[in-house]
């Protein structure tokens, strides 16, 4: 067992654990936000740089601090490591810088974006964003593309986290989806413009931290905070059938996978459950999911957010009921 101290909290973890995973074991405010890391996707992480932390002591053997901030999602814990996240001004400033850069070309079209209310970037911007922009340059623009009949791609909103690419790699045998070009002209594409026809392709919508990939069967039907997320299940031959049904009255508006308190899917669900079963008779409704009051999903809490107050992105997501 390795001992690691994160923001003055000591925890023992197994070898091979990353700093982020250790922080998640502690939970609460010490968990760094992660836009690209996804524990269920192999090879994810390291790209968005929002989870940067300061390593004040490398290990018990070599107590020197690490010269640069490190990505907590991809740095393994060493025995005696001391990590600073929330208590480090340097980390907070670096994170503000990263968020500014992530928002640089993001269209900020939240009022017409289906992801608004459950968007990781929106939460992050509330936590670390500046109130005004210093850019006067036009943002980059791409045409909106349909990836097959079920998924819509808004490349303008993409933050290049690679989660959907990795999801597509896991669910398809041959490469069908990936990055084209490089630098700030890089874009997600299916090779080339072929629809991903796979029973699990809908999970790409759930792993997308922003509104770049949205559900075409739900587009513009409702804002997410007007809906009640309910745990539901059904007998399904291809997936576990455990989902969140987003309901308005007795109508099901959309179906998504169940997300844990770090915004990650508990399990992938199939396209049949997600896109085709929208009738209440298809499902056994278990009961409402718990939502934290700070969450923008809980609705109309915006007036409390003044400059400087930090709403932690992690706390702003839905949490399963006990």
């Amino acid at each position: 067992m390795l001992r690691i101290t994160i923001d003055n909290i000591l925890i023992e973890v197994e070898e091979g654990t990353t700093i982020l995973q250790a922080a998640r074991m502690i939970g609460g405010g010490v968990v760094p936000p992660a836009m690209c890391y996804y524990s269920k996707l192999k090879g994810s992480g390291g790209k968005c740089r929002t989870c940067l932390v300061k390593v004040a002591q490398g290990s018990a053997k070599d107590p020197r601090p690490m010269p640069k901030l490190v990505a907590s999602c991809s740095t393994p814990v060493q025995d005696g490591m001391v990590v600073e996240n929330k208590i480090s001004v340097e980390v907070q400033q670096a994170r503000e810088g990263i968020v500014e850069l992530l928002l640089l070309n993001h269209p900020l079209d939240c009022p017409v974006c289906d992801q608004a209310g459950e968007c990781d970037l929106q939460d992050l911007a509330f936590g670390f964003g500046m109130e005004e922009t210093e850019t006067i340059e036009p943002r980059r623009e791409y045409p909106v593309v349909d990836i097959g009949p079920l998924i819509k791609l808004h490349m303008n909103r993409c933050i290049h986290c690679y989660r959907c690419v990795l999801t597509a790699e896991q669910i398809t045998k041959k490469r069908a989806h990936g990055m084209l070009y490089r630098g700030d002209t890089m874009e997600i594409s299916t090779f080339i413009q072929t629809a991903i026809e796979n029973d699990f392709s809908g999970n790409m919508i759930d792993v997308c931290p922003v509104g770049a990939l949205t559900d075409r069967t739900f587009r513009f039907k409702s804002r997410v905070w007007f809906l009640n997320p309910m745990n539901a299940h059904r007998e399904c031959s291809s997936c576990g059938g455990k989902v969140t049904a987003w309901m308005f009255g007795s109508e099901i508006y959309r179906v998504t996978g169940r997300k844990d308190r770090f915004g990650e899917l508990e399990e992938f669900i199939c396209n049949e459950c997600r896109f085709e079963k929208k009738d209440i008779s298809d499902w056994v409704i278990e009961g409402p999911r718990k939502i934290k009051r700070q969450s923008v999903i809980s609705g109309n809490q915006y007036e409390h957010l003044k400059k400087g107050s930090i709403i932690h992105p992690i706390e702003g997501t839905t949490e399963p009921q006990e």
Partner: protein, 427 residues
């Protein structure tokens, strides 16, 4: 000054040919190493020589070799990084073009020391014309039993392959290079694990620069201690400098470490002074990525000592008043050069070459380029200068690979030393 150990034979006619190279003392180091020395002894000589990586970072080569995972039962690889694309740097191209056998000899020696059976030369796509030169040299060496099965009748076998890239600056970063060599998109990997443990095809790998590997040849030839006697302090030996810009004699020069910058610019043996009798304005001493130095700081350190061409002297004063030796791409600007335009030009390069994998570099390089474009084209705002400093700071140190730093340093240093000129560009 002026002792050449790498380029001493460069002017011999036909030196590209195996026979001529052999006549002039070529492959004697391999004869010596394979005949009299164990692999550990070869590595020991390299450690003794104090050789530091010539690709830019200046990491001790012997130390890097000692990190190689020798317990693993997987094959080991040596990769020669010939993806020289740093603006202002053209020493590796010169070396490979004129002395291909020197590099191959270095590869054989290094492979012998590291226990490598397969070696790749990853060469920049734009250097296509060099692929033929290197492959001819390899086949000549093969014919003479210096490459291939059971070299010189010993148990040591080695194959060398030349692999051209597609022309991406980012593939000069060692892990992006390995990705590209594996046939994938050239994105840098997230470290750890380091290539010494998980490199090419997840096997232990050493990646070294062309000049570093070529230097192994004279080190074995003359002995590590004799090589370490050259140079100054921890900057041992000689270094290839590729000089360009507003000077009378641009070109590749081999200098002994410790040569004063002033001598290098003004002596007739090297750059031959500033063109058209102009005054020196600024110097980028180590390739476009390193901080720019104004004339006074380029010639003398902040403590009024003469600035020398060595790792330590050039970085004296940190980034406040110093720079780095980097890859040795020595760019000289005279008084007529516009620093803002030049900085914009460099940022354009980094914007184009960013792989786009991590957010600070992807977005930041583009933003800096756009701001500098506005400044250069008379649309700048007064707040843009501080904004540039802030953006550069947000990129620096926060990226996966050093490209982010490389993009941020020229901007930050140009504003640090030439803020007045930026202000003049704002109407």
């Amino acid at each position: 000054m002026g002792r050449a150990v790498l380029l001493d034979k460069v002017n011999v006619p036909g030196i590209r040919d195996f026979g001529v190279y052999r006549e002039h003392g070529g492959y004697r180091s391999v004869d010596k190493a394979l005949g009299e020395m164990t692999p550990a002894q070869v590595q020991q000589e390299v450690i003794k020589s104090g050789l530091r990586g010539r690709g830019g970072a200046g990491f001790p080569t012997g130390l890097k070799w000692s990190f190689l995972d020798r317990k693993s039962d997987k094959p080991r690889y040596l990769v020669c990084n010939a993806d020289e694309s740093e603006p202002g740097t053209f020493k590796d191209r010169y070396l490979m073009e004129h002395l291909p056998h020197l590099l191959i000899e270095g590869l054989i020696l290094s492979s012998y020391a590291l226990g490598v059976k397969t070696c790749y030369i990853y060469i920049r796509g734009e250097f296509k014309y060099l692929v033929g030169i290197l492959e001819t040299a390899i086949s000549q060496a093969k014919k003479n039993n210096y490459v291939g099965e059971r070299i010189l009748g010993t148990g040591f076998s080695l194959e060398i392959y030349v692999h051209p890239g597609a022309g991406a600056y980012i593939c000069g970063e060692e892990t992006a290079l390995l990705e590209s060599l594996e046939g994938k998109r050239g994105n840098p990997r997230i470290k750890p694990p380091f290539p010494a443990y998980k490199g090419l095809y997840d096997c232990p790998t050493v990646v070294n620069n062309v000049e570093t590997l070529a230097t192994i040849t004279p080190i074995i030839g003359m002995g590590g201690e004799a090589y370490a006697a050259l140079g100054i302090g921890k900057s041992t030996g000689t270094k290839l400098m590729s000089a360009c810009g507003n000077i009378n004699k641009p070109g590749v020069y081999e200098i002994e470490m410790g040569l004063p910058v002033e001598d290098f610019i003004y002596s007739d043996e090297y750059c031959g002074g500033i063109k058209n009798g102009r005054m020196l304005k600024a110097v980028i001493p180590g390739g476009s990525s390193v901080p720019i130095l104004p004339a006074d700081l380029a010639l003398n350190t902040a403590r009024s000592e003469a600035r020398l061409l060595s790792y330590e002297s050039l970085s004296e004063g940190g980034f406040e008043s110093g720079s780095m030796l980097g890859s040795g791409g020595f760019i000289v600007y005279d008084e007529d050069a516009c620093i803002v335009r030049n900085t914009w030009n460099l940022t354009r390069f980094y914007r184009h070459e960013s792989c786009g994998q991590c957010s600070p570099c992807r977005e930041g390089t583009g933003w800096m380029e756009k701001i500098l474009y506005r400044l250069e084209h008379g649309q700048g705002r007064r707040s843009d200068i501080d904004l540039l400093v802030r953006v550069a700071k947000n990129i620096e140190g926060n990226t996966i690979c050093p490209l982010g730093d490389a993009a941020a340093w020229p901007v930050a240093s140009a504003i640090r030393h030439f803020r007045g000129e930026f202000l003049e560009h704002i109407k």
